[in-house]
Protein backbone atom coordinates (compact mmCIF):
# COMPACT_ATOMS: atom_id res chain seq x y z
CA UNK A 1 0.00 0.00 0.00
CA UNK A 2 2.73 2.47 1.03
CA UNK A 3 4.78 1.32 -1.92
CA UNK A 4 1.93 1.97 -4.29
CA UNK A 5 1.38 5.39 -2.73
CA UNK A 6 5.03 6.28 -3.10
CA UNK A 7 4.92 5.31 -6.76
CA UNK A 8 1.90 7.44 -7.24
CA UNK A 9 3.66 10.31 -5.47
CA UNK A 10 6.73 10.04 -7.63
CA UNK A 11 4.42 10.28 -10.62
CA UNK A 12 3.16 13.63 -9.29
CA UNK A 13 6.56 15.25 -9.14
CA UNK A 14 6.09 17.51 -12.19
CA UNK A 15 2.97 18.91 -10.57
CA UNK A 16 4.84 19.39 -7.31
CA UNK A 17 7.68 21.19 -9.03
CA UNK A 18 5.22 23.46 -10.79
CA UNK A 19 3.55 24.22 -7.44
CA UNK A 20 6.90 24.96 -5.82
CA UNK A 21 7.73 27.18 -8.78
CA UNK A 22 4.52 29.17 -8.39
CA UNK A 23 5.14 29.58 -4.66
CA UNK A 24 8.71 30.73 -5.18
CA UNK A 25 8.05 33.09 -8.09
CA UNK A 26 5.01 34.65 -6.46
CA UNK A 27 6.82 35.11 -3.15
CA UNK A 28 9.95 36.45 -4.78
CA UNK A 29 8.18 39.11 -6.80
CA UNK A 30 5.95 40.17 -3.92
CA UNK A 31 8.77 40.29 -1.44
CA UNK A 32 10.91 42.48 -3.62
CA UNK A 33 8.04 44.86 -4.35
CA UNK A 34 6.77 44.66 -0.78
CA UNK A 35 10.19 45.52 0.61
CA UNK A 36 10.49 48.60 -1.57
CA UNK A 37 6.96 49.72 -0.77
CA UNK A 38 7.39 48.85 2.91
CA UNK A 39 10.51 51.00 3.20
CA UNK A 40 8.70 53.85 1.45
CA UNK A 41 5.75 53.60 3.81
CA UNK A 42 8.03 53.29 6.84
CA UNK A 43 9.95 56.43 5.89
CA UNK A 44 6.74 58.36 5.23
CA UNK A 45 5.28 57.10 8.48
CA UNK A 46 8.17 58.54 10.49
CA UNK A 47 8.35 61.62 8.30
CA UNK A 48 6.52 63.97 10.64
CA UNK A 49 3.43 64.66 8.54
CA UNK A 50 0.67 63.71 10.96
CA UNK A 51 -1.98 63.13 8.32
CA UNK A 52 0.12 60.85 6.14
CA UNK A 53 1.40 59.03 9.18
CA UNK A 54 -2.11 58.44 10.54
CA UNK A 55 -3.38 57.29 7.15
CA UNK A 56 -0.56 54.78 6.80
CA UNK A 57 -1.15 53.64 10.37
CA UNK A 58 -4.84 53.03 9.71
CA UNK A 59 -4.10 51.12 6.52
CA UNK A 60 -1.51 48.95 8.25
CA UNK A 61 -4.00 48.21 11.03
CA UNK A 62 -6.67 47.27 8.53
CA UNK A 63 -4.38 44.86 6.71
CA UNK A 64 -2.90 43.38 9.87
CA UNK A 65 -6.31 43.02 11.44
CA UNK A 66 -8.16 41.18 8.68
CA UNK A 67 -7.67 37.71 7.23
CA UNK A 68 -5.47 37.60 4.16
CA UNK A 69 -8.02 35.36 2.47
CA UNK A 70 -10.57 38.17 2.59
CA UNK A 71 -8.08 40.69 1.23
CA UNK A 72 -7.26 38.48 -1.71
CA UNK A 73 -10.98 37.83 -2.35
CA UNK A 74 -11.73 41.52 -2.39
CA UNK A 75 -8.94 42.20 -4.87
CA UNK A 76 -9.82 39.34 -7.16
CA UNK A 77 -13.61 39.15 -6.96
CA UNK A 78 -14.87 42.55 -5.82
CA UNK A 79 -12.54 44.90 -7.67
CA UNK A 80 -14.07 43.83 -11.01
CA UNK A 81 -17.27 45.50 -9.84
CA UNK A 82 -15.32 48.74 -9.96
CA UNK A 83 -14.01 47.92 -13.38
CA UNK A 84 -10.61 46.58 -12.29
CA UNK A 85 -10.21 43.16 -13.82
CA UNK A 86 -7.07 41.28 -12.78
CA UNK A 87 -5.86 37.80 -13.54
CA UNK A 88 -5.25 35.52 -10.61
CA UNK A 89 -1.46 35.85 -10.68
CA UNK A 90 -1.52 39.65 -10.71
CA UNK A 91 -4.16 39.74 -7.99
CA UNK A 92 -2.06 37.38 -5.91
CA UNK A 93 1.01 39.55 -6.33
CA UNK A 94 -0.85 42.71 -5.46
CA UNK A 95 -2.40 41.19 -2.36
CA UNK A 96 0.85 39.65 -1.16
CA UNK A 97 2.86 42.79 -1.93
CA UNK A 98 0.43 44.87 0.06
CA UNK A 99 0.56 42.46 2.97
CA UNK A 100 4.35 42.38 2.88
CA UNK A 101 4.57 46.17 2.67
CA UNK A 102 2.38 46.62 5.75
CA UNK A 103 4.39 44.24 7.90
CA UNK A 104 7.70 45.57 6.61
CA UNK A 105 6.55 49.14 7.22
CA UNK A 106 6.21 48.32 10.93
CA UNK A 107 9.67 46.77 11.00
CA UNK A 108 11.21 49.77 9.26
CA UNK A 109 9.46 52.21 11.60
CA UNK A 110 10.85 50.35 14.60
CA UNK A 111 14.31 50.44 13.03
CA UNK A 112 14.19 54.15 12.30
CA UNK A 113 12.95 54.93 15.81
CA UNK A 114 15.81 52.91 17.27
CA UNK A 115 18.41 55.27 15.85
CA UNK A 116 19.43 57.58 18.70
CA UNK A 117 18.12 61.12 18.32
CA UNK A 118 21.69 62.31 18.78
CA UNK A 119 22.49 60.89 15.35
CA UNK A 120 19.75 62.89 13.70
CA UNK A 121 20.80 65.99 15.59
CA UNK A 122 24.40 65.55 14.52
CA UNK A 123 23.23 65.30 10.92
CA UNK A 124 20.94 68.30 11.33
CA UNK A 125 23.75 70.32 12.87
CA UNK A 126 25.99 69.68 9.89
CA UNK A 127 23.31 70.90 7.52
CA UNK A 128 22.29 67.64 5.83
CA UNK A 129 18.91 67.81 4.12
CA UNK A 130 15.98 65.62 5.15
CA UNK A 131 16.65 63.01 2.50
CA UNK A 132 20.40 63.09 3.07
CA UNK A 133 19.86 62.53 6.79
CA UNK A 134 17.66 59.54 6.03
CA UNK A 135 19.91 58.14 3.34
CA UNK A 136 23.35 58.76 4.83
CA UNK A 137 22.79 58.56 8.57
CA UNK A 138 19.49 57.05 9.71
CA UNK A 139 18.77 54.19 7.31
CA UNK A 140 22.24 52.60 7.37
CA UNK A 141 22.03 52.45 11.17
CA UNK A 142 18.39 51.36 11.20
CA UNK A 143 19.33 48.40 9.01
CA UNK A 144 21.00 46.71 11.95
CA UNK A 145 17.67 46.57 13.72
CA UNK A 146 15.63 46.02 10.56
CA UNK A 147 17.47 43.19 8.84
CA UNK A 148 16.96 40.21 11.16
CA UNK A 149 13.17 40.62 11.58
CA UNK A 150 12.87 41.52 7.90
CA UNK A 151 14.27 38.19 6.82
CA UNK A 152 12.12 36.48 9.44
CA UNK A 153 9.09 38.22 7.99
CA UNK A 154 9.96 36.89 4.55
CA UNK A 155 9.52 33.37 5.85
CA UNK A 156 6.06 34.20 7.18
CA UNK A 157 5.07 35.77 3.89
CA UNK A 158 6.24 32.81 1.86
CA UNK A 159 4.01 30.63 3.99
CA UNK A 160 1.11 33.08 3.72
CA UNK A 161 1.39 32.88 -0.05
CA UNK A 162 -0.44 29.54 0.13
CA UNK A 163 -3.70 31.49 0.44
CA UNK A 164 -3.48 32.33 -3.27
CA UNK A 165 -4.83 28.87 -4.02
CA UNK A 166 -8.23 30.30 -3.08
CA UNK A 167 -8.25 32.28 -6.31
CA UNK A 168 -7.20 29.36 -8.44
CA UNK A 169 -3.42 29.42 -8.46
CA UNK A 170 -1.81 26.03 -8.13
CA UNK A 171 0.87 26.66 -5.56
CA UNK A 172 2.67 24.11 -3.44
CA UNK A 173 -0.11 23.77 -0.84
CA UNK A 174 -2.73 23.41 -3.55
CA UNK A 175 -0.68 20.62 -5.11
CA UNK A 176 -0.86 18.90 -1.76
CA UNK A 177 -4.64 19.02 -1.82
CA UNK A 178 -4.74 17.72 -5.38
CA UNK A 179 -2.34 14.88 -4.73
CA UNK A 180 -4.05 13.80 -1.54
CA UNK A 181 -7.10 12.85 -3.61
CA UNK A 182 -5.14 10.20 -5.39
CA UNK A 183 -2.89 9.22 -2.54
CA UNK A 184 -5.10 9.02 0.52
CA UNK A 185 -2.30 9.51 2.98
CA UNK A 186 -2.57 13.09 4.15
CA UNK A 187 0.22 12.60 6.61
CA UNK A 188 2.70 11.63 3.94
CA UNK A 189 1.54 14.19 1.39
CA UNK A 190 1.55 17.12 3.78
CA UNK A 191 4.83 16.01 5.24
CA UNK A 192 6.24 16.41 1.74
CA UNK A 193 4.53 19.76 1.30
CA UNK A 194 6.03 20.83 4.61
CA UNK A 195 9.40 19.67 3.37
CA UNK A 196 8.99 21.80 0.26
CA UNK A 197 8.42 24.91 2.33
CA UNK A 198 11.24 23.92 4.64
CA UNK A 199 13.69 23.79 1.74
CA UNK A 200 12.76 27.33 0.75
CA UNK A 201 12.42 28.81 4.23
CA UNK A 202 15.16 27.19 6.23
CA UNK A 203 18.05 28.98 4.49
CA UNK A 204 16.27 32.26 5.16
CA UNK A 205 15.89 31.43 8.83
CA UNK A 206 19.58 30.60 9.01
CA UNK A 207 20.35 33.90 7.33
CA UNK A 208 18.17 35.76 9.83
CA UNK A 209 19.94 34.05 12.71
CA UNK A 210 23.34 34.87 11.33
CA UNK A 211 22.40 38.51 10.81
CA UNK A 212 21.01 38.67 14.31
CA UNK A 213 24.19 37.20 15.73
CA UNK A 214 26.37 39.60 13.74
CA UNK A 215 24.37 42.64 14.77
CA UNK A 216 24.09 41.34 18.32
CA UNK A 217 27.83 40.82 18.58
CA UNK A 218 28.40 44.36 17.43
CA UNK A 219 26.34 45.57 20.36
CA UNK A 220 27.83 43.19 22.88
CA UNK A 221 25.49 40.36 23.74
CA UNK A 222 24.32 39.87 27.29
CA UNK A 223 25.24 36.79 29.20
CA UNK A 224 22.98 35.67 31.96
Amino acid sequence: MIWQQLQSLVGSYPLALRGLGVTVVLSLISLVLGTLLGFGLGILRTGGNRLISAAIGAWVDLIRGTPFLVQIFLIFFILPEFGIELDAFTAGIIALTNLAACFICEIVVAGIRSVPTGQVEAALASGLSRWQRMRQVVLPQAMRIVLPPLVGQYVLLIKDSSVVSAIGLTDLTRVGWLVVQRVPNGLLVFFLVGLGYFIVCYPLIMLARRLERRMGAAHGEVQL
Binding site: E121, A122, A125, S126, G127, L128, S129, Q132
Partner: protein, 253 residues
Amino acid sequence: MTASPSKNGTGMIEFRGVNKWFGALNVLRDITLSVEPREVVVVCGPSGSGKSTLIRCINGLETIRDGDLVVDGQRLGDPATNMTRLRTEIGFVFQSFNLYPHRTALENVTLAPIHVRKIPRNEAEQAGRELLAKVGLADKVHAYPAQLSGGQQQRVAIARCLGMRPKIMLFDEPTSALDPEMISEVLDVMVAVAEEGMTMMVVTHEMGFARKVAQRVVFMDAGAIVESGTPEEFFSQPKTDRSRAFLSKILRH
Protein backbone atom coordinates in the same frame (compact mmCIF):
# COMPACT_ATOMS: atom_id res chain seq x y z
CA MET B 1 20.51 90.30 35.73
CA THR B 2 21.57 89.79 32.14
CA ALA B 3 24.61 89.98 29.99
CA SER B 4 24.80 93.27 28.13
CA PRO B 5 24.02 92.95 24.46
CA SER B 6 26.14 94.92 22.06
CA LYS B 7 24.14 98.08 21.45
CA ASN B 8 24.18 98.11 17.69
CA GLY B 9 23.49 94.39 17.40
CA THR B 10 26.60 93.46 15.45
CA GLY B 11 27.17 90.37 17.59
CA MET B 12 27.73 87.04 15.91
CA ILE B 13 25.06 85.59 18.19
CA GLU B 14 22.40 87.89 19.58
CA PHE B 15 19.76 86.76 22.07
CA ARG B 16 17.19 89.48 22.74
CA GLY B 17 14.58 88.65 25.36
CA VAL B 18 14.40 85.01 24.37
CA ASN B 19 11.92 82.75 26.16
CA LYS B 20 11.37 79.05 25.72
CA TRP B 21 8.87 76.68 27.27
CA PHE B 22 8.73 72.89 27.45
CA GLY B 23 5.05 72.45 28.18
CA ALA B 24 4.49 74.49 31.34
CA LEU B 25 8.20 74.72 32.12
CA ASN B 26 9.89 78.02 31.33
CA VAL B 27 13.34 76.65 30.48
CA LEU B 28 14.78 79.88 29.10
CA ARG B 29 13.70 83.09 30.80
CA ASP B 30 14.18 86.35 29.07
CA ILE B 31 17.68 85.64 27.83
CA THR B 32 19.60 88.61 26.47
CA LEU B 33 23.16 87.91 25.44
CA SER B 34 25.48 88.96 22.67
CA VAL B 35 28.54 87.09 21.53
CA GLU B 36 31.03 89.06 19.43
CA PRO B 37 32.94 87.53 16.54
CA ARG B 38 36.03 85.65 17.80
CA GLU B 39 34.75 85.74 21.35
CA VAL B 40 34.89 82.59 23.52
CA VAL B 41 32.05 82.33 26.04
CA VAL B 42 31.86 79.60 28.68
CA VAL B 43 28.42 78.73 30.03
CA CYS B 44 28.10 77.00 33.37
CA GLY B 45 25.43 76.32 35.95
CA PRO B 46 23.64 73.54 37.74
CA SER B 47 22.05 70.63 35.96
CA GLY B 48 18.72 71.47 34.39
CA SER B 49 19.42 75.19 34.36
CA GLY B 50 18.98 75.40 30.61
CA LYS B 51 22.57 75.49 29.36
CA SER B 52 22.06 72.86 26.69
CA THR B 53 18.78 74.37 25.62
CA LEU B 54 20.45 77.76 25.27
CA ILE B 55 23.09 76.63 22.81
CA ARG B 56 20.79 74.16 21.04
CA CYS B 57 18.56 77.11 20.16
CA ILE B 58 21.41 78.73 18.30
CA ASN B 59 21.51 76.17 15.52
CA GLY B 60 17.80 75.56 15.64
CA LEU B 61 17.80 72.15 17.33
CA GLU B 62 15.21 73.82 19.58
CA THR B 63 12.78 76.51 18.54
CA ILE B 64 12.09 79.57 20.67
CA ARG B 65 8.72 80.96 21.58
CA ASP B 66 9.36 84.65 21.86
CA GLY B 67 12.17 87.11 21.70
CA ASP B 68 14.70 87.44 18.88
CA LEU B 69 17.67 85.26 18.18
CA VAL B 70 19.93 86.54 15.43
CA VAL B 71 22.87 84.41 14.33
CA ASP B 72 25.38 85.67 11.78
CA GLY B 73 22.91 88.42 10.85
CA GLN B 74 20.02 86.06 10.19
CA ARG B 75 16.92 85.93 12.41
CA LEU B 76 15.93 82.43 13.47
CA GLY B 77 12.30 81.56 12.88
CA ASP B 78 12.17 84.11 10.07
CA PRO B 79 10.75 82.42 6.96
CA ALA B 80 13.47 84.14 4.93
CA THR B 81 16.18 82.33 6.91
CA ASN B 82 17.36 79.11 5.32
CA MET B 83 18.06 77.02 8.42
CA THR B 84 19.86 74.24 6.57
CA ARG B 85 22.26 76.78 5.10
CA LEU B 86 22.72 78.61 8.38
CA ARG B 87 23.54 75.35 10.14
CA THR B 88 26.47 74.80 7.83
CA GLU B 89 27.99 77.94 9.42
CA ILE B 90 27.59 76.55 12.92
CA GLY B 91 29.49 73.57 14.25
CA PHE B 92 28.02 71.66 17.17
CA VAL B 93 29.99 69.26 19.37
CA PHE B 94 27.83 66.99 21.53
CA GLN B 95 28.56 65.57 24.94
CA SER B 96 28.10 62.05 23.59
CA PHE B 97 30.10 62.70 20.40
CA ASN B 98 27.34 61.34 18.13
CA LEU B 99 29.78 60.12 15.55
CA TYR B 100 28.17 58.05 12.79
CA PRO B 101 29.04 54.53 13.93
CA HIS B 102 28.79 53.07 10.41
CA ARG B 103 31.40 55.44 9.00
CA THR B 104 35.16 55.67 9.50
CA ALA B 105 36.73 58.71 11.11
CA LEU B 106 37.56 60.15 7.70
CA GLU B 107 34.07 59.47 6.36
CA ASN B 108 32.57 61.16 9.41
CA VAL B 109 34.62 64.23 8.63
CA THR B 110 33.93 64.28 4.88
CA LEU B 111 30.23 63.31 4.81
CA ALA B 112 28.80 66.80 5.16
CA PRO B 113 31.43 68.59 3.02
CA ILE B 114 30.74 66.14 0.18
CA HIS B 115 26.95 66.11 0.39
CA VAL B 116 26.20 69.59 1.68
CA ARG B 117 29.07 71.72 0.44
CA LYS B 118 29.33 69.57 -2.72
CA ILE B 119 33.10 69.51 -2.50
CA PRO B 120 34.66 66.85 -4.78
CA ARG B 121 35.40 63.66 -2.86
CA ASN B 122 39.17 63.69 -3.24
CA GLU B 123 39.46 67.33 -2.20
CA ALA B 124 37.24 66.67 0.79
CA GLU B 125 39.32 63.67 1.76
CA GLN B 126 42.50 65.63 1.46
CA ALA B 127 41.10 68.31 3.75
CA GLY B 128 39.71 65.66 6.10
CA ARG B 129 43.08 64.01 6.51
CA GLU B 130 44.66 67.33 7.34
CA LEU B 131 42.02 68.07 9.95
CA LEU B 132 42.40 64.66 11.57
CA ALA B 133 46.15 65.21 11.66
CA LYS B 134 45.55 68.57 13.32
CA VAL B 135 43.57 66.94 16.14
CA GLY B 136 46.32 64.32 16.50
CA LEU B 137 44.62 61.43 14.78
CA ALA B 138 46.60 61.07 11.56
CA ASP B 139 46.91 57.34 12.22
CA LYS B 140 43.21 56.76 12.92
CA VAL B 141 41.86 57.96 9.58
CA HIS B 142 40.26 54.63 8.72
CA ALA B 143 39.20 53.57 12.20
CA TYR B 144 35.52 53.21 13.04
CA PRO B 145 34.19 55.07 16.10
CA ALA B 146 33.87 51.80 18.03
CA GLN B 147 37.62 51.33 17.64
CA LEU B 148 38.43 54.70 19.16
CA SER B 149 38.67 55.78 22.78
CA GLY B 150 36.25 58.42 24.03
CA GLY B 151 38.81 61.18 23.78
CA GLN B 152 39.67 60.17 20.24
CA GLN B 153 36.00 60.07 19.28
CA GLN B 154 35.43 63.54 20.61
CA ARG B 155 38.42 64.82 18.66
CA VAL B 156 36.98 63.31 15.49
CA ALA B 157 33.71 65.06 16.31
CA ILE B 158 35.54 68.37 16.56
CA ALA B 159 37.34 67.69 13.28
CA ARG B 160 33.97 66.88 11.71
CA CYS B 161 32.68 70.31 12.67
CA LEU B 162 35.84 72.08 11.54
CA GLY B 163 35.50 70.33 8.19
CA MET B 164 32.52 72.52 7.39
CA ARG B 165 34.63 75.66 8.08
CA PRO B 166 31.99 77.08 10.40
CA LYS B 167 31.94 80.64 11.66
CA ILE B 168 30.73 79.54 15.08
CA MET B 169 31.43 76.46 17.18
CA LEU B 170 29.11 75.34 19.96
CA PHE B 171 30.22 72.76 22.53
CA ASP B 172 27.80 71.02 24.91
CA GLU B 173 29.82 69.53 27.79
CA PRO B 174 32.33 68.06 25.35
CA THR B 175 34.49 66.46 28.03
CA SER B 176 32.03 65.26 30.64
CA ALA B 177 31.62 61.79 29.09
CA LEU B 178 35.36 61.22 29.02
CA ASP B 179 37.86 59.39 31.18
CA PRO B 180 39.92 61.81 33.30
CA GLU B 181 43.09 61.13 31.35
CA MET B 182 41.42 61.88 28.04
CA ILE B 183 39.85 65.14 29.01
CA SER B 184 43.06 67.07 28.50
CA GLU B 185 43.51 65.69 24.97
CA VAL B 186 40.20 67.23 23.98
CA LEU B 187 40.68 70.44 25.91
CA ASP B 188 44.02 70.95 24.18
CA VAL B 189 42.32 70.72 20.79
CA MET B 190 39.63 73.15 21.91
CA VAL B 191 42.22 75.62 23.13
CA ALA B 192 43.92 75.41 19.76
CA VAL B 193 40.65 76.10 17.94
CA ALA B 194 39.92 79.04 20.24
CA GLU B 195 43.33 80.50 19.65
CA GLU B 196 42.79 80.50 15.89
CA GLY B 197 40.03 83.03 16.48
CA MET B 198 36.84 80.96 16.28
CA THR B 199 33.65 82.33 17.80
CA MET B 200 32.81 79.76 20.49
CA MET B 201 30.18 79.03 23.09
CA VAL B 202 31.19 76.23 25.41
CA VAL B 203 29.02 74.61 28.06
CA THR B 204 31.56 73.12 30.46
CA HIS B 205 32.56 72.81 34.05
CA GLU B 206 36.24 72.64 33.22
CA MET B 207 37.23 75.82 34.98
CA GLY B 208 40.81 75.49 33.88
CA PHE B 209 39.68 75.83 30.29
CA ALA B 210 37.50 78.80 31.18
CA ARG B 211 40.42 80.55 32.87
CA LYS B 212 42.70 79.91 29.95
CA VAL B 213 40.70 80.95 26.90
CA ALA B 214 37.27 82.37 27.80
CA GLN B 215 36.65 86.07 27.44
CA ARG B 216 33.46 85.68 29.41
CA VAL B 217 31.83 83.19 31.79
CA VAL B 218 28.02 83.08 31.88
CA PHE B 219 26.37 81.46 34.89
CA MET B 220 22.83 80.17 34.46
CA ASP B 221 20.29 79.04 36.98
CA ALA B 222 16.66 78.00 36.50
CA GLY B 223 16.61 79.16 32.89
CA ALA B 224 17.98 82.64 33.46
CA ILE B 225 21.43 84.17 33.13
CA VAL B 226 22.27 84.99 36.73
CA GLU B 227 25.74 86.33 36.31
CA SER B 228 28.20 87.08 33.56
CA GLY B 229 31.71 88.40 33.61
CA THR B 230 35.36 87.73 32.91
CA PRO B 231 36.73 84.50 34.34
CA GLU B 232 38.82 86.38 36.89
CA GLU B 233 35.81 88.30 38.19
CA PHE B 234 33.61 85.21 38.23
CA PHE B 235 35.99 82.90 40.04
CA SER B 236 37.43 85.34 42.51
CA GLN B 237 34.30 87.33 43.37
CA PRO B 238 31.11 85.55 42.37
CA LYS B 239 28.33 88.11 42.83
CA THR B 240 25.39 85.93 43.83
CA ASP B 241 24.87 83.34 46.57
CA ARG B 242 23.78 80.80 43.99
CA SER B 243 26.99 81.04 41.99
CA ARG B 244 29.09 81.03 45.14
CA ALA B 245 27.41 77.79 46.29
CA PHE B 246 27.81 76.26 42.87
CA LEU B 247 31.48 77.14 42.61
CA SER B 248 32.17 75.81 46.08
CA LYS B 249 30.72 72.44 45.11
CA ILE B 250 32.41 71.97 41.79
CA LEU B 251 35.76 73.31 42.86
CA ARG B 252 35.89 71.37 46.13
CA HIS B 253 37.26 68.11 44.89
